[in-house]
Amino acid sequence: MLPRDSVVAQNISVMAQAIPLVTRADPTATRSALTEGYVSQPALMAHGSFDWLQFRGTLNLEGLTLKRGELSTGGYGEGYVDRRHPHAYIHEALIGAQRSIAGFEGSVFAGRGFAPFGSDDPMARPFEKFPVNHHLAQVLERVVAIAAVRKGPVIGEFGLFGGDEPTSPSASPNFSRFGDSWSARLTVLPLSGAEVSGSMAGVTSPEVHVGHGLDQRKSSVVARFSRQAPDSWRYGLLEYAHTDERELGERVNTLSSILGEAAYCANGFVVAGRLERTDRPEEEQLADPFRTPRPANDLSNLGISRWTTVTASLSTPAARLGIAAMRPFVEVARIAVGHGSPAGIFNPELRYGATRMWMVSAGIRLRAGVMHDRMGRYGVALPPMDMGSGVPMSHPMPDMPGMSHTSMNATSVGKCTL
């Protein structure tokens, strides 16, 4: 029995959050400006551990509050376009085990959640609006089994999952498809608070629930830095994500994204910026110009568009009351759209009446409980958090019984907690 095991006892943490906000998109798919209000990202998160057994769950309630989708010019996926789709109610529900054996730390997790691919879920990043590349850079809400091994600064993960993406917040996954897709991610932790990862995935027919749609071969390279102290935070992420869509084994579409984002917090003020250029496949539309048929009526698209978005965000210090916090923010995005390759028949002037657009949002992050630092990694794949001392908090401290590896990645209190 290794010393580590002796300190992993019972632990549970729970967090609730919601982001009431107003967004103005000018113009958007209606060829006019729209202003709308929502409660975005309402979620209950919990994780717990009992000895070697771990649980992680996220109940996402956007199916109740964002049925029409959230204005997000350039965003797409799961039958929505220029609106972000509501996520599945069961966003994450996994159980797993974590052990140390012969100097290796290992974990296995299974359930519904993130496949080991790409970068963190945007929900756990400094911006309220998701980037356009969400469906290029993450693979989520899948029935998945993940094995991860960590040795020193190197983490390897492999996941098997079902390729079908959700068709609605309440729709059941196609369990019969479990195992038709895979992903693998290798992460290196060269410095405290820094990580570099590369991942690949083969996703079978993500957009057709019963299969027979285009398959995807995905790759991603991510460099991430995050160093947090009680009253400051520095964060940066640089990401390249690429997806080849394949038909009968041959590449038919290529979609790429490059994204950089950074945030700095001092005295509770958080300023963040993001620059992104992402390709988007254009699809047929329904009577609602923000919706596309799922599944599509065939395997063709209307061309590829290319989105360049600059986003700036400013948050004021959080007001706290007990375990609850509320942090106001404002977010401004300037968006340019042009032809990708091939252009097809996509014409931004016809769709939007413009090639340059604004999106402005203001809202309040409401949160109660222990914030989860990362989203999209499980068990030993969750790198340690740098708490500002330059010493990674990767291992439970011997004199802190009851605090597991996972819980140390949760930021309980801090002026810079989002």
Binding site: V210, H212, E245, V252, E284, Q285, A287, L299, N301, P342
Partner: protein, 418 residues
């Protein structure tokens, strides 16, 4: 075996037949006629089909075409400057089609398919997306002024009617509707509608079908060929075999899975000598509308309708096929080929027999087929000299002319290949 091919190919280039007529045991009501003779054709570069004229539709993307007499009806698709809720009516008596009128179909984003009944009295238009329907128009007064008789929609057609083909069985007119899938809960399906009282269409049959789509049907002599995407081609007895089957009570005779799947459309060829051994299958692969497309023409031998076999194919690099029309007297198949324009293929004779140098073995399946191009059967190409990009959806041969519906430009009138 090679000697046999050599002998078979040594005959002269006439359009004869060999052997007795065939009445298949699986469908004794159908006489498939004698087997056609094999032909040996010289290799020569395809000609260009003469462009006689065009009619421009710039506000909407053009869809399918149906020509009867001196009138052509073209549907419209998705959203350009305006949505595809319009059927254009063209006078095609001259060289250049003249737009004479149009019909607006309410609540449609796409009017993807159009057909005229064999007696010329009805025009039927399919609509997508939800609420999918067929609009039935009376042409018996003035075919330039279609009069709406009825609009048929119900729960089964709600996701969208992709195609609507017409056929007469025992004197009664039916529409065969291919219905789109929707979400995870509503699979694709085939709906058969009794149009004997066109003012009050009545659904008489429904079957969930297709993996994941059923895109089109082809009815002739009481057999219904059903395009089931990756489930291949079904042949249904709906009255032709003399077994008591009917559109209300179809009987599945056989199925063939063509190489690559993605079965979109079918044409059962009856040659002038009474041979009915071959059917042509269109494969609709992926594409970017206006830029690229994929998918071959597959030839199936239905001498045994309970076990059809694929015997030949036609491939165009960088382009894929869509709908067909056949000049059966001269044995020419005209295929819409999207960005590849129009292709005219000589389909006389026995297409299952070719020299070994004209055979190609498919790498994925190991199956060997005759290559129609290597057999010298590529007669002509249309619209390669149009002077602008084309994307041809449908084609129809009528009395020495070929009419093509071009999604980008409207309608073209071409001279026949022979």
């Amino acid at each position: 075996m090679l000697a046999a091919f050599g002998a078979a190919c040594s005959g002269d280039a006439t359009n004869g037949t060999t052997g007795p007529s065939l009445i298949p045991s699986s469908c004794t009501g159908i006489n498939l006629g004698p087997r056609p003779s094999s032909l040996s054709l010289p290799q020569s570069p395809p000609k260009s089909m003469a462009i006689l004229g065009s009619g421009l539709e710039a506000d909407r993307y053009t869809g399918e075409i149906a020509v009867r007499g001196n009138l052509a009806y073209t549907t419209t698709w998705q959203v350009r400057k305006a949505q595809g809720n319009k059927v254009d009516i063209w006078d095609v008596s001259g060289s250049a089609p003249q737009l004479v009128d149009s019909v607006i179909v309410t609540s449609a984003i796409t009017t993807g398919d159009v057909a005229v009944s064999d007696d010329g009295k009805l025009l039927v238009v399919a609509t997508e997306p939800s609420p999918g329907s067929i609009a039935v128009y009376d042409l018996s007064g003035d075919p330039r002024k279609p009069q709406l008789l009825s609009r048929f929609t119900n729960d089964q057609t709600a996701p969208g009617v992709h195609t609507a083909e017409l056929g007469r069985i025992n004197g009664k007119l039916y529409a065969f509707l291919s219905i789109d899938p929707s979400g995870a809960a509503i699979p694709a399906r085939l709906v058969i509608v009794d149009l004997s009282a066109p003012a009050s269409p009545k659904q008489v049959f429904m079957k969930i079908a297709g993996a994941p789509y059923v895109h089109d049907t082809h009815q002739r002599d009481g057999l219904l060929f059903v395009a089931l995407w990756n489930d291949g081609v079904d042949i249904w007895d709906i009255g032709g075999c003399g077994t008591g089957a009917s559109p209300e009570n179809p009987r599945i005779i056989g199925n063939v899975k063509t190489i690559g799947g993605e079965v979109h459309n079918i044409w059962w060829y009856h040659d002038p000598n009474g041979s009915k051994r071959f059917a042509f299958v269109g494969q609709e692969g992926s594409g970017s509308i206006g830029a690229s497309s994929r998918g071959d023409i597959h030839v199936i031998d239905i001498s045994d309708p309970s076990a059809p076999t694929e015997v030949a194919f036609y491939h165009v690099d960088g382009a894929g096929t869509h709908n067909f029309s056949v000049d059966e007297v001269n044995g020419v198949l005209y295929a819409a080929y999207y960005n590849g324009g129009v292709r005219a293929i000589d389909i006389r004779g026995d297409l299952s027999v070719c020299q070994s140098s004209q055979q190609v073995t498919d790498g994925a399946t190991g199956r060997t087929r005759c290559d129609l191009r290597l057999m010298g059967r590529e007669l002509a190409i249309g619209l390669s000299n149009a002077g602008r990009s084309v994307y041809v959806w449908g084609v129809q041969y009528v009395n020495g002319s070929v009419y093509a519906s071009d999604m980008i430009n409207g309608i073209w009138k071409l001279g026949a290949a022979k």
